[in-house]
Structures are given as C-alpha cells and as structure tokens.
Symmetry: C2
Subunit: 372 residues, 2 copies
C-alpha cells in the first residue's frame, strides 16, 4: 500500500491524499461503512459499490465466529467471498472480544472467552488475530489491541497501553502477507500523557498506518478532541491515520481538521434501520406521521437511487411495516449521503472552504439526535 498526500490545509491539520492498494485507489479523507460480517447490513455488496463507497471495514472476530477464516481463505479471500472488488480493511477483533470479556478473561497473552454463538472457547491473541486477518486478505489490517471502556481508571489504562504495545510488536512479527498494510493502534483512554506515549511507542515500532482506538466509547466530545490532540501530532505526516468508530458528519469534519484521514462507523446504516436519514436539508425521522402523505423524495438535492425513485410516503410505509426492503433503501440513502459528504469534504480541503462546510452541517446537525 502506498499513501500520498495531495493537499494540506493551511489553517488546520486537514489533508487530502490517495491510498493506493492492490484493489484500487482510495481518495482520503475517506469513510468506510462497516461490513463486520462480510455484509453491510440489509444491503448487498454490489448495492454499496454503486453508491461510490470506496472501501469497507470487516471484522476478524465476527468472521472468526461465522463463517470462519478457513472458509473465506478457501474462497480466495474476503474480496472474493463477498463479491467486493474494491479495497477492504479488517479490524483485529480486539474491540469485540474485550466488550465480551470479564477482567479475568484477559491475560498478558491475550483474551479467552466463550463464543456467543455456540459456547466454544475462543482464544484471541496478537498472533491469532493477525493469522486470521492474513487469511481474510483485506488490504488494510489492524494490530491486536485492548480497547478500554469508558470511564477507565488511569492505572488500568496505563497497563493496557503497555499490553497493547506488546501486542503491537507481536502483531508485526506475526504479519506474513506483504500485500496487506498493517496499522498500529494508539490507545490510552482519555489521558493525554498515555495517548502521547502510546503514539510514540507505536510509531517507534513502525507501521504502514496508524489507527486511533478507544474513542467514541462514551467520553465527551471535549475528551475525544483532547485525546486526539495528544496523539495525532506524534504520528508521522506521511502515513494514513484512522480514527476508529467515528462518527457523525460533524465529528468527521472536526476530526479531519485534527489530521485524521480514515473513519469507520455503523452510524449511517444503523441510523437508517432506525429511521433516521441524513439529507443536506436536515435530518428526516421517517417514522414521523408528517411523512405519511409526503410524496416528495427524502431529499431533492440527493442523487441516490432511492431519492430518484421512491417518495417519503412510500419509505414511511415500508418503515412502518418493519420491511427489510425499507431498511435497505434507507441504508442506501444514508450511505450515499456519507459518500457525497466525504467527496465534498475532500473538495473543501482542496478549496480551503472546510469552515463553510462545517457551518452548513452545524446548522442542522444535532449530534445527540443523530446518534439516537
């Protein structure tokens, strides 16, 4: 994987760039929808490709449970298995395994839990996570890390940073597929000194890119931005930076100004399935009775296939029916909104108009509303 910065903003850390992978190019900043189980929920891979989505993020833990990395390996890798020809990333599974683990399940070696699927024991270590991700064959893979919860006591966070650094080294040693870029992950909860140390030591190990984990887990926006400010400047300029699990368009535009290049989040599809749609005119809660007889499109300024063909009244009807067809159409719209938003954000960086785009979003984005 190659990364080239094409433009740097003069008034913030924002930059545009190009990630070149063996499955194609990604213009950054970029947003990756989650396809944790090798599918963007309610949508088919082909649907998503048609929306201008550049890359997807799958998950080693989910795919370890079902269908298993051996099957995906036998299919020729995850791209082949899911019929997605473009770039892919996988997460290490750390976040999921830690969210299921009790403290006693965690050791210096890794995590040992019972499968939520069938109760069998699952031991996940740095070596095993990388081995799985090598089998999956995504273009970008993640070192195995401990994602701490929020709130997290300082001492635990400090110990966790050391554990994550150890696992980062072991992840790098275990990595055996040169076609895949390996990203190290910065942790440290909301503690600036831990974030800084985590970033410095991860950089000294040396990775193809750097992810920032353990944020967007319940902390305040101020805490999130302080944590970012403590670690992003430590990361090398010439490597891509990925902020995990973020977020709303307003989060993204503000984090891009802190120097972040890549994002992944379930929000566009989860919000869609919950009836919350993003448009340039504001948020549409499609379950609202006001849309029963609204025969206009979700958004008159949207170029997605849903706005071209279906009315708010019809989408309201499908949503009220709890129809899978509705979840898909609403998801496609939100995904297209994100793709279009990221494109406008890249253009705004090049044109030095990011504040104007941010002001436009701030005018209608109620972050809590949007996350609800």
């Amino acid at each position: 994987m190659q990364f080239e910065i094409t433009h740097c903003d003069k008034t913030s850390r924002a930059r545009t760039g190009q990630l070149v992978t063996s499955h194609g190019m990604v213009a950054t900043p970029a947003f990756m929808p989650c396809a944790s189980q090798a599918v963007v929920k309610a949508c088919s891979p082909h649907d998503v490709a048609d929306l201008g989505i550049q890359l997807l993020m799958a998950n080693a833990f989910h795919l370890l449970l079902q269908p298993g990395p051996d099957i995906i390996g036998a299919a020729g890798g995850l791209h082949q298995f899911m019929g997605w020809p473009r770039p892919l990333a996988t997460d290490s599974g750390g976040f999921q395994v830690f969210s299921l683990a009790q403290p006693s399940d965690i050791s210096e070696d890794g995590v040992s839990i019972l499968s939520p699927l069938n109760g069998s024991r699952i031991d996940l270590t740095a070596e095993r996570s990388i081995q799985i991700q090598n089998q999956l064959g995504a273009d970008i893979i993640m070192a195995f890390d401990e994602c701490t919860r929020y709130p997290c006591e300082y001492d635990y966070a400090a110990g966790s940073v050391e554990r994550t650094l150890d696992w980062a080294q072991r992840s790098q040693a275990a990595h055996s597929n040169e076609e895949q870029a390996l990203f190290g992950i910065v942790q440290g909860s909301v503690y600036a000194d831990l974030r800084q140390r985590s970033a410095e030591e991860t950089v000294s190990i040396g990775f193809d890119g750097y992810a920032i984990g353990g944020l967007s887990v319940g902390e305040s926006r101020a805490e999130m931005f302080a944590a970012l400010a403590a670690c992003v400047p430590v990361l090398p300029e010439n490597k891509p930076r990925h902020l995990m699990g973020v977020g709303t368009p307003l989060d993204i535009i503000q984090c891009v100004q802190q120097g972040v290049d890549l994002f992944d989040c379930v929000l566009p599809t989860r919000n869609a399935r919950h009836g919350s749609l993003l448009t340039w005119e504001g948020i549409v809660k499609i379950n609202n009775a006001q849309y029963r007889e609204d025969f206009g499109p979700l958004s008159r300024s949207c170029d997605c296939p849903v706005c071209a063909r279906y009315s708010r009244a019809y989408l309201h009807h499908l949503f009220r029916l709890h129809e899978a067809a509705g979840w898909r159409l609403l998801s496609l719209h939100n995904l297209r909104f994100y793709a279009q938003f990221m494109q406008r954000l890249r253009q705004a960086i090049a044109a030095a108009t990011v504040p104007e785009l941010e002001a436009q979003l701030s005018a209608w984005t109620d972050r809590d509303e949007e996350k609800s």
Copy 2:
C-alpha cells in the same frame, strides 16, 4: 384492457396471449409475484422490474390497513405510490378478511371484523372493496368474494356461491373506473356442480376476465384439478383466466394445460426467505451445511444478478446470519427463476413442447418439499 390469444395448443387447453393494459403489455401465461402491502417482501419494486417480472399482485385488505387507500389515491394511485410503472392487479381482500372472520362476522351484506392492526372495526362489502380498488387504481381488480376454507361442507359452499354471485353483481355495479379491468371470481370449493354453476352465473353477469378462487387452500391436487375441470370449460375462450394462490412451477404448468392464463402466489419469495431456491438443476436448500464451502453460483444456468455475483457459500453465510440482505438476494433469484420459467412455458406452448418442459420439471420437483 384488451386480451388477445396468440396461440392455442393442439393437445391441451393451454394457450398464449397478450394482455394489453394502460401500463403496458403482459405476455400470458404470466405469473404475478405478491406485493400484498405494495412491496414484494425484502425486495424493492425497481429490483423486481429488472428481473423481467411483468406484473404484480397487491391486496386491497392489506392496503386498507396500511397505509390506507386515501394516501395511495393522493399519491396518484398504487403505481405511483410504489414506483412500479408496469401492470398491477389487486385482490379484493376477501381471502384475508374471511381468514380473520368468525362465522358470526359474515352476513349477506359483507364481513365485519376488528382490525388486526389497531382493533378498529372494518366493514368490508362488495361496494367498499371495489371503492378501495378503484382508489388504488390497479390495471386488474377483483370482485369481492367469499373464499371458503377446506374442508367445507356442501351446504355452506352452496350458500357461499350464491353470496359470491350476489357480491359479483354488486361489485360490477359499484365499479366506476373504466381503465381498470374487473374480474369475476368462481368459487364452489371442491364440488364440481357448484364450480360449474358459479362459473356459468359469473359469466352471465359478464366480466373482463375470470379468476378461480378457493383452491390451493389445503385440498388434494386431484381435487384441485377436478374443480378446475368443472369450471374452466365454462369460461369464455376470449377472456383471461386467473387461478388465485397457485403455485409451484409444476402446478402452474399443469394448470396452464387446463386453460389458465394468470397465476399469483407468495411461494417464490416465501420459499426464498426460508432458504429454498429453485434452479433448473433442482432445489437448493441453502441452509444445508454442504453449501458452506461451495463457491459456485446457485445455478450455472441462471442469468439473475445474484448468480452472476455471489456464491452459494456467501448466500449460505447470509442466510445463517438471518441477514435481510440474504432474504433479498435469495428472493431475487427465485423471482428470476419464475420469470424465466414462464417465458420457457410460453415458448413451449408455441412450440408444442409443453410435455417435455413438464417432464424436465417433474424430474426434480418434489411438490411437498418445495412448499415446505
């Protein structure tokens, strides 16, 4: 609506024809997938149009419950509301309302039940059903009928035939939209004399087409064919004949040889959501563990977008996840199979090779399996 017969088989009652409606032409014999609630479950209308499906069947009772005929009328009719530009039929709602009714809910005037949605009282009469269907604006609409259950005592079936004839006259008197073809419905349970009388009297009222209702409700195949044989020859040659709620490909090919032109059924989509897929090589039960590592398409001889892009292993994975994306892909495949099957059936009638097509289907179709 105009109906023209283009070819008559020499060895059976099978014929090909063309229905011309103001929303386009339908080549018969034709199968209509059910879009009871203005959506083919798990699929979007645009998806279905791309598969070569010529017409859909919606339901006046379901649409009375949600979103209501006033809203669909305000949208400009059902075609507009659901974004389906091709021909549409609606059922009268009789089948649904009778399946919910107690004997005491039924009078000579109609049926009065409590809404399963909100408990409000719903009175459905011939006049009201036609009024709703006029508002919906489908190209083909159905007279209000009583669909008897199976088994049904002779005396009840005889009384029901009279009631249905009365309602047929009232339906015709109430019908106010000349752009919509109104079909009368033949009832009479499994009793040949009742079927014959119902057909004769319905024909003497005079309709644009004739539907045969009250079959495929639990009776044996022999009973179904005997009932058909008692009524189809009574129906005028130059009007289309619709067998309601049928069925499997083998059912369809055999009923076409009895002179039926139109079919509607939930089977292709319901079976798909239950993991049962039709291919020209046989039935694929996608949940079966043998497909975990089967990287070929559902069918090598299928031209559907699913077989072009996704493997059995991936579809198995989505099915095991209970993923809405899987229900859709499997439904699209089965719908395309039906569209292709009906096309081959029309060609076979023209080429006098229906028995060969039937033999091909019989070789792998296990009717009970397929319905399960």
